[in-house]
């Protein structure tokens, strides 16, 4: 009987502690809801209205989403966003991994290379995009000038005017800027690896590739996973780079979801339409965030 009373008391105490914990968290929950939750829910509501800047929001049901289904530019922008994200992430991961492995070796001038390779990440995005735009210019851009002077091409490549090239041109800049993030994240992970494992593997006759494949890669996989997921979310939402280099053009050939959202909101003054474009990709981002949260939990 006494034992039962003890258990009941312990249970009551646990419930009290939980209640206290919740109560202590309440201020933070209120702040987070006010800063993020309310605007998010409001945005979803507005996507079901005919809201324009400064105007009343009248409920229009699924009209905005139905319009999106029939909007060719929306589908083109979504396709471009997926190509942009997958292409950039693959390139950044491969090149970042390669450079991290190289910089982890005892090479001459390692500090210099590490510093130099950080520069693209440190440069403000606007400066980088504007500079690349100048470099891509078909008339006075340095890239075409170098290609022609070295005999690689006879005429300039239309980096910014050929609809088959414009998205690729913006991807190059994103990859250039994003490699340092991958490189330094992976390099950090590489430096925590125990050298004895490699020595033991060497004694057992494992070559460089096998050491990399069976020891290095599994050991750094969680860091690669989190870095890739974070960068995927950032790349998916990248507006500045595309907008400043091509403006999403010509004829929407490099339009992505963020640039199309901007065009709808500020060029067409269609706020609810713009929000519906942004809201339509939230499921994709939620999936990525869930994967990230799980990977983070696993790694910790």
């Amino acid at each position: 009987m006494a034992a039962l009373t003890k258990i009941n008391r312990a249970g009551a105490q646990t419930r009290k502690d939980k209640r206290l914990g919740l109560l202590l968290m309440l201020p933070v929950i209120i702040v987070i809801f006010g800063v993020m939750g309310y605007p998010f829910l409001n945005a979803i509501w507005l996507s079901f209205t005919d809201k324009v800047v400064g105007g009343e929001a009248n409920f229009t049901g699924w009209d905005n989403y139905i319009a999106l289904i029939h909007d060719d530019i929306y589908w083109l922008s979504l396709k471009n966003t997926i190509i942009y994200t997958v292409g950039c992430i693959a390139a950044k991961l491969l090149l970042g991994l390669l450079l991290a492995v190289l910089l982890n070796k005892s090479i001459k001038g390692k500090t210099f290379f590490r510093t130099a390779l950080l520069i693209p990440w440190a440069i403000p995005g606007m400066v980088a995009a504007t500079t690349w735009r100048w470099m891509y210019d078909s008339t006075y851009g340095i890239i075409n000038s170098l290609l022609i002077s070295t005999g690689l091409t006879t005429t300039g490549i239309p980096w910014l005017s050929d609809t088959h090239l414009t998205l690729f041109s913006t991807m190059i800049v994103n990859v250039w800027r994003g490699i340092p993030f991958f490189m330094f994240s992976i390099l950090g992970a590489l430096q925590t690896l125990d050298k004895q494992q490699f020595e033991a593997a060497c004694v057992d006759g494992a070559g460089s590739f096998k050491q990399f494949w069976y020891i290095t890669l599994p050991a750094i996989s969680s860091v690669i996973g989190i870095t890739t997921l974070l960068s995927t979310i950032w790349t998916f939402n990248d507006f500045e780079n595309v907008w400043l280099i091509t403006g999403g053009g010509p004829v929407y050939s490099s339009s992505t979801i963020p640039t199309y959202t901007y065009v709808k909101a500020f060029t067409e003054n269609n706020l609810s339409g713009a929000i519906s474009v942004a809201v339509s990709v939230i499921p994709i981002l939620i999936i990525l965030i869930i994967i990230y949260a799980r990977a983070n939990k696993k790694s910790s």
Binding site: P158, S161, P250, L271
Partner: protein, 436 residues
């Protein structure tokens, strides 16, 4: 002991919740104290466009301070980059913190008429001696909503040295310009004859140029009765002509993604022979590229045929007053005060160096405007036509211009190889949707 622990826990919770409450109350009370209610002093929030020539913002600040002191008003004068104005205004309007006055280009400011944000300004305009050519820029939906501050007529900048080198005269027709362009075009050496932007992300240079050619060729995008009349043989001919300039390689290929700075950059880099631009380019050339300015001539706009009507489409800088703001009357008082000192106004316009043309009568014969370099802008301004002409100046017309629908149609022809008639059909459908 248990009681003490319980009391401490409760105190902790109350303390944290209290801190949050204090914080929120603190936030609201501080904003109240910054408002005018407590002190009884009038308030004015003025968002001004950041101008290429800094003299403008300096002088406007001087006038604002003078007004603030004389009328005992707290004025918050904010200079906003023109590229950011729309986004910042959208956020301000949605949060209910819109300024009382904004200054920007007429099509951008007019966008807020549709959402019933701007106040009628007939009472302010009644005291301003506006020039005839400036009056249309005040009216929208048959009501005066905007106060013109300056006209911004464009000019045809041409490399005189190149024209002289080939023994060419200023072209009188668009076809003649094209023939001359073929002569001076030298892409192998990085020089293109024409710097005509065709990107949809710009502020409207491309759309203005296309609509100029349409009018010159006798076409109309929307007629004076507000009917969509773009699908006509005249507009088709204009489209074919403009497209041919790109298709025949007379324009740099990247121009299809240029915004409004693209043509400026190309001209200052010496890689194009002709651009159509406002006087802002003249200021840049004079200050930073004097060798190019010395070799530049401002040609008259050509016409579709010799002796035919030649239009110069352009805009204006205007004030808009938010009726949804708290200080509409103070805003009107400021604008009236600003225009009451006409000598100061003229001094300001002249300080900007020709890229702005005056909207009030009485200053055309000053030494500054008699200078041939500047007189050309005054002449252009006197023939200035609204970019949406001949359509009635409505918010729909402004939206049609801001959406760059003509530019997108032309892009489809030039970039995607679309048949001009098909592009025109698409443009007509887009305009009909907008006007419905």
């Amino acid at each position: 002991m248990k009681k003490i622990g319980k009391t401490l826990k409760s105190a902790c919770v109350l303390g944290l919740s209290g801190a949050l409450l204090v914080c929120s109350v603190g936030c609201s009370s501080s904003s109240e104290s910054s408002g005018g209610e407590k002190t009884g002093k009038k308030q004015l929030v003025f968002w001004d466009k950041s101008e290429y020539v800094t003299a403008y913002n300096d002088m406007m600040k001087e006038k604002v301070d003078e007004f603030a002191e004389k009328y005992d008003v707290d004025v918050d004068y904010v200079i906003v980059n023109s590229g950011d104005l729309e986004q910042k205004l959208a956020a301000a309007i949605e949060s209910g913190n819109q300024p009382d006055i904004i200054m920007g280009d007429n099509t951008s400011v007019a966008e807020y008429i549709a959402s019933d944000q701007l106040a009628e300004v007939s009472d302010v305009l009644a005291d301003i001696d506006l020039k005839e050519e400036a009056k249309p820029y005040a009216v929208f939906n048959d009501t005066e909503y905007l106060v013109p501050l300056s006209l911004t007529a464009p000019g045809m900048f041409a490399r005189q040295d190149v024209w002289e080198e080939h023994g060419l005269e200023a072209p009188k027709t668009w076809e003649e310009l094209k023939e001359q362009a073929k002569i001076i075009n030298d892409p192998d050496n990085g020089f293109y004859a024409l710097g005509l932007p065709l990107g949809e992300s710009g502020g409207g240079d491309a759309e203005t140029f296309i609509r100029t050619i349409i009018l010159d060729y006798g076409g109309e995008v929307v007629n004076a009765e507000g009917e969509v009349t773009v699908n006509s043989p005249e507009v088709l001919e204009a489209f074919k002509f403009i497209a041919s300039l790109y298709e025949e390689g007379l324009v740099p290929p990247d121009a299809t993604t240029w915004d409004d700075s693209g043509n400026n950059s190309a001209y200052t880099a010496g890689t194009v022979g002709v651009v159509f631009n406002s006087g802002s380019l003249m200021g840049t050339l004079k200050d930073e590229y004097p060798e190019i300015w010395d070799n530049t001539a401002i040609f008259d706009y050509p016409a579709a045929e010799e002796g035919g009507q030649s239009y110069t489409l352009g805009g204006a800088n205007v004030f808009g007053i938010f009726k949804t703001g708290d200080n509409t009357e103070t805003a009107k008082e400021f604008i009236s005060y600003f225009f009451s000192d006409t000598d100061f106004y003229n001094e300001m316009v002249e300080a900007i160096g020709g890229m702005w043309q005056p909207v009030i009568n009485g200053y055309d014969d000053t030494e500054f405007w008699q200078d041939p370099d500047n007189a050309v802008w005054l002449t252009a301004a006197s023939n200035l036509t609204l970019t949406t002409a001949p359509a009635p100046t409505t918010d729909t017309a402004a939206q049609g211009f801001s959406n760059h629908l003509c530019t997108k149609a032309l892009q489809n022809i030039v970039v995607n190889g679309m048949d001009p008639q098909e592009a025109l059909d698409g443009l007509e459908a887009d305009l009909n949707e907008l006007y419905q």
